[in-house]
Amino acid sequence: MDFLNRHKGLKVIGGALVAMAVLPHVISVPLATEIIIYVLFAMGFNILLGHTGLISFGHAAYFGLGSYFAGFALRYFDASVWMSLLWAAAIGGLVAAAIGALAIRKKGVYFAMISLAFGQMFYFMALSPLKKWTGGEDGLKFIPKLKMNYPFYLDLSDHISIYYFVFFVVALSLIAMWRILDSPFGRQLRAIRENEDRIQACGYNVTMAKFYSLVFSGIFSALAGGLMTVNLGYVPVTSLYWTMSGTVVMMTILGGMHSFIGPAVGAAVFLFLQDSVMKIIDRWEIFVGVMFMVLILLFREGIVGTLQQRFGARTSQEAAEG
């Protein structure tokens, strides 16, 4: 499944950006804003899962720390919105490097569990011992009303302006992500996913490649977290809780982890479905859980993967004929 065909890939990104640009005119704006933030989170997460083949159940740590550090910058240091996002991304990269140094050598399952445990450690730290700064269970509040001063003035409490602000950052990030994954480094990651031992035998430093993959993933996830802070004007402590990691795993698998754009589709469909179903029934978790199990049993490649399998074959045939 060579999804990184350059010509097709650019079309895919272009399509995704167009879809995102019209999204707030189709569904409610706050939901759309949350969707594109999770799009970035899920795609950042997928650098590790889909592209490198490592599963982490602790990505809430990067998202949540990104949220908190953006919040700290805004609340305690009067930082600008741009600066706070930079902070968020930087802290994501640093923490990912620290966790990577400890855990990246571990094989898959161990890594999954260790990342989960580290994630929970951050959650409990924020919840109790560090609540003087984090606000504990209340979350980080009293972040002033946000605005963007550079390059032009924008009132970020307006729903549409915050949407397009987030959209701009997400779009830039997706393009950056594309550049990273479309490089020899990106190809090396996918080779590791397919056959780690072989790549090792070929003389590549597998551990370092995985390490960088985790760091990139941490940076993008934390950036998504920072955007969430800018969007909400507040940081909930649940952004560090492990169910957040579980949610991003579900989104990614739902959309299709073996496709560049899959996690984005997954995030959008997941949040939209969740929002719609919870309006109808209170016990919507049954629905989500069962849907996820059916997905794993029958449609392992997720929405995009399954659609590609169905229609992709035909298109390539058409292309061959044409």
Partner: protein
Amino acid sequence: MFGIPVEVLIMQVIFGLALGAIYVLLASGLSIIFGLLDVINFAHGTFYMLGAYAAFMATSLSGSFWVGVAASVVIVMLIGAMTEYFLLKPLYGEWPFYPLLLTFGFAVAVPDLMKALFGLIGKVVEYPEGLVGAFIWGGVLVPKYRLFIIIFTAVVMIALFLFLKRSDLGMIIRAATRDSLMVNVLGVNTSRIWTTGFALGVGLAALGGALHAPMVSAIPDMGVEMTVESFVVVVIGGLGSVGGAILGGLIIGQVVSFVSLFAGEYSQVAIFFAMAVILMVRPRGLFGEAGRL
């Protein structure tokens, strides 16, 4: 503020042991499942919760706590066997994380299903008659029910070891843990062994839930934290090692107990620190095999 006499320290050890016993039950089950199936059971806490609910049902129908505990283990083992057979079996041989993800979906759906079936309000399981209250030995307060949990868990663990070391089935399970392909070649139906192993593992979780139920009541969301904490225990002990799970459980029990004594608010964060420290000193866990991971 608090001077700490020796009696208090001894009591703390006993409470830590009782707390550790619950972790031992859950983690050993998790370890058996992982050793045999290479599956990290994200629904382990869910089966623990199901154990508590099954104990509630059986206790209220039969009127006896002991029947309740026994029935709970049997019922959950059956549910576990069916889960493995219908949901996990189709996923073997695929990417190793699919079974893990499936159990995650299970853990999302089932607690909510329990809310739909049994109502949102948790169910009370009373302490068995005769085990309420405490002995006092020279200033040391020993709660009867905790003492029972410690002894009972010890008995169960010894039985488990004897079963794994001495019985034919146990031998096959251990062999399949090492190399299931070879066991299959030798003419054993490994598929059935996997089902048995999964049922055994979740049965231990259910036992933990049933024994814990009088202390915490049966509540649909009770398993969420338990899953993560049993992960920590098996990571400390070494994945796939039952002995490691036991040692890990006991360590975590004492860590929580003593941190509660000195700095209550750190009692939860402490277990994750304990894990980080042990991993730095001994990366594969206490009893983990070097080659395996």
